[in-house]
């Protein structure tokens, strides 16, 4: 009975101290920066009206600085190979895995904020709330991955969801943005209901709220009080997380919310929300369904999770890739491609469940590796669409990208690199990501998942290539006029970093794979 709130029964033993706050310093930095952005906005309001080209640069500067500090703290912890640390009476667990996922979340936030200055200024809605919401969402996401207790899982999930709902509908005089926000919210509420029910079942079946304790008891040979209740709870939790990562058939919100939101927000959602949710998904899957050092703790739970995640992976890969084929909007195509990539990452989660602790393969190294290039590609692509936009519009349709290679060759080249990487063609990062994930799957005996993955990724080449064809081989007629991009430094910077990093990871994947393997779950 090592529950979180035993403290209420024994008030004499203070268990939460300054150490606990120190452990979640990156989260605190993000929260503080967000609040600072809100306050700062008050002082900037008078002088910065929309036509001013530089806009509210201090806002961007401060919030970017916050993400930089949080990122540096996380990097430092990874670099020092910090020991797993558990705080807040076991509700929060910080280890290299949560650091790595947190880093990707912070990366997503930083890119979003880099591109946001231009995007908001164009629409005349440059407000501190946006920066604050992005930072709060990022903080909740980092906490989400660090959750070791059912309460924390639930609270941080709700916090991050609400921030992202608002971000989706942030452009509130735009019909499509509000519609996307509404859909995301209603379906998100539905999925939260199922996730919560799942958590309740897990609690009821194991009589504990601490994930580590539960898994420890299972691995120690104590069967759960109610095995089928546990399985049902895990299934429902899986549904909630599958919704967040956008797996078929819980994907319906993805295309609509991704299209409705501003492209910078879409990039943030596609990367940060997905990375954080995959972090928790992987943790739950490995804790309850992992192969275990001496066999799985609960064979039923393992069987259920393996079947559930494999099934989701297969249908998600097939659905995402096929549906993307028919799209004429680049943004929507990328949304479906994000679904397809959820499928590939789910394959990585399945192989992670096969890894034995202390064995040769670290659980989820492939998934973790792929998340990084995936983040770079998605952020680069969505920020590019935002960056090339005009007024309240982002550059969304594939046709509007026609002739881009002639007008903005550098942008076209960057987008080309990103698309080639998405399609999984060497020597880009995307190729290695797919290679590692499918190699893990084959090595752990899930060759059918790898086969579906390879086949569907061949299909995917077609739709990624359509963007390249439009940019490089079609005349400009019908395309939108080229906006002047001189003043848009943030977007340029983000796009350049993304494209160069994709190539660098592609050329030197070894280093990044070693980091991923070091950060994988133990």
């Amino acid at each position: 009975m090592n529950g979180l709130f035993t403290i209420l029964d024994a008030p004499a033993a203070p268990a939460i101290g300054w150490d606990d706050l120190g452990g979640i310093l990156p989260v605190l930095v993000l929260l503080a920066t967000g609040s600072l952005a809100l306050v700062l906005d008050l002082f900037l309001k008078e002088e910065a009206s929309p036509p001013v080209p530089a806009g509210k640069w201090p806002l961007s500067f401060v919030s970017l600085l916050g993400t930089a500090v949080a990122g540096a703290l996380l990097c430092g912890h990874i670099g020092a190979a910090g020991k797993p640390w558990s705080g807040f009476l076991g509700a929060v667990q910080v280890d290299l895995f949560s650091d790595a996922i947190g880093l990707i979340v912070v990366l997503g936030a930083a890119f979003c904020l880099l591109g946001a200055g231009d995007a908001l200024r164009r629409r005349g809605i440059e407000q501190g709330e946006f920066h604050a919401l992005v930072l709060y969402a990022a903080a909740s996401m980092v906490l989400f991955v660090q959750s070791a207790s059912l309460v924390m899982v639930f609270l941080s999930l709700e916090a991050l969801s609400m921030a992202v709902y608002i971000l989706t509908a942030f452009q509130r005089d735009e019909k499509r943005a509000v519609e996307g926000g509404l859909k995301y919210f209603v379906l998100g509420g539905l999925s939260s209901g199922f996730l919560l029910l799942g958590l309740a079942f897990i609690y009821g079946a194991t009589r504990s709220t601490n994930l580590t304790d539960i898994a420890g008891a299972l691995a120690g040979g104590q069967p759960p009080a109610d095995s089928s209740l546990l399985v049902a709870g895990l299934g429902l939790t899986l549904i909630g997380l599958a919704f967040k990562v956008g797996a078929f058939p819980f994907h319906a919100w993805v295309p609509d919310a991704y299209e409705g939101a501003m492209s910078v927000v879409t990039g943030f959602m596609a990367v940060a929300v997905k990375a954080a949710s995959f972090g928790v998904l992987l943790r739950v899957a490995v804790l309850f369904g992992g192969a275990g050092a001496s066999g799985p703790g609960s064979p039923e739970a393992r069987g259920a999770l393996l079947a559930g995640i494999s099934g989701l992976a297969v249908v998600t890969m097939i659905f995402g890739n096929l549906a993307a084929l028919a799209q004429s909007s680049a943004k929507r195509m990328l949304a479906y491609s994000a679904i397809a990539h959820t499928g590939y990452l789910l394959v990585g989660a399945v192989s992670a469940m096969e890894a034995r602790p202390g064995g040769e393969q670290a659980a989820g190294a492939g998934l973790l590796f792929y998340l990084f290039p995936y983040a770079l590609m998605s952020l680069g692509a969505f920020i590019c669409l935002s960056h090339l936009g005009e007024g309240a519009e982002d550059r969304e349709s594939i046709d509007s990208l026609r002739g881009l290679a002639e007008r903005h060759p550098a942008h076209a080249l960057a987008l080309l690199v990103i698309m080639v990487s998405f399609a999984g063609i060497p020597p880009t990062a995307g190729f290695w990501g797919k290679l590692f994930i499918f190699r893990e799957a084959i090595a752990t005996g899930h060759w059918e998942l790898a086969l579906v993955g390879i086949l569907t990724s061949i299909v995917s080449v077609y739709y990624y290539l359509r963007l390249v064809v439009a940019m490089y081989m079609l005349p400009q007629e019908g395309g939108l006029p080229a906006p002047s991009l001189e003043a848009r430094i943030g977007g340029k910077l983000a796009l350049a970093i993304a494209a160069i990093a994709v190539v660098l990871v592609g050329l030197f994947p070894g280093i990044f794979f070693q980091i991923s393997a070091a950060c994988a779950l133990r």
Binding site: M1, K175, V178, R332
Partner: protein, 122 residues
């Protein structure tokens, strides 16, 4: 109406249990019924406010589950009850957010029928 259930059940639980008539299963069944009603509302209703009420039903039925598990399945921990309190807070926050979004939907579409919001599709 949804918030009315919970205090009622919380009061009734200890007495009924000691009488040996109402056990964990009863709570779970009630909770399942409420959850099912919530689902039904979300699937069938078109009005954004009604949808919101359905979502509230979902959350509260889960709260009921947590409290029941805390009462029957564990003896000395109050985790389930505390989670339920958090849950009520979250439900309130979610409601305010939902109303804000609904307001914006009304501003843009002049209706709160969610069917009308279908410009994003395909």
């Amino acid at each position: 109406m949804s918030t009315g259930f919970l205090p009622l059940l919380l009061q009734a639980a200890p007495a009924a249990a000691s009488a040996g008539q109402v056990g964990l299963t009863h709570y779970l069944v009630v909770s399942a019924i409420v959850f099912g009603l919530g689902l039904l509302v979300v699937i069938t209703r078109r009005n954004a406010i009604a949808l919101l009420m359905g979502l509230e039903l979902l959350l509260n039925s889960v709260g009921l589950n947590f409290v029941a598990f805390a009462k029957f399945a564990t003896r000395d921990a109050v985790d389930g009850q505390v989670i339920t309190i958090f849950l009520i807070v979250i439900a309130a926050a979610e409601a305010s957010l939902a109303l804000a979004i609904t307001l914006n939907i009304f501003n843009n579409l002049n209706t709160v029928e969610v069917d009308e919001a279908r410009s994003l599709k395909g």
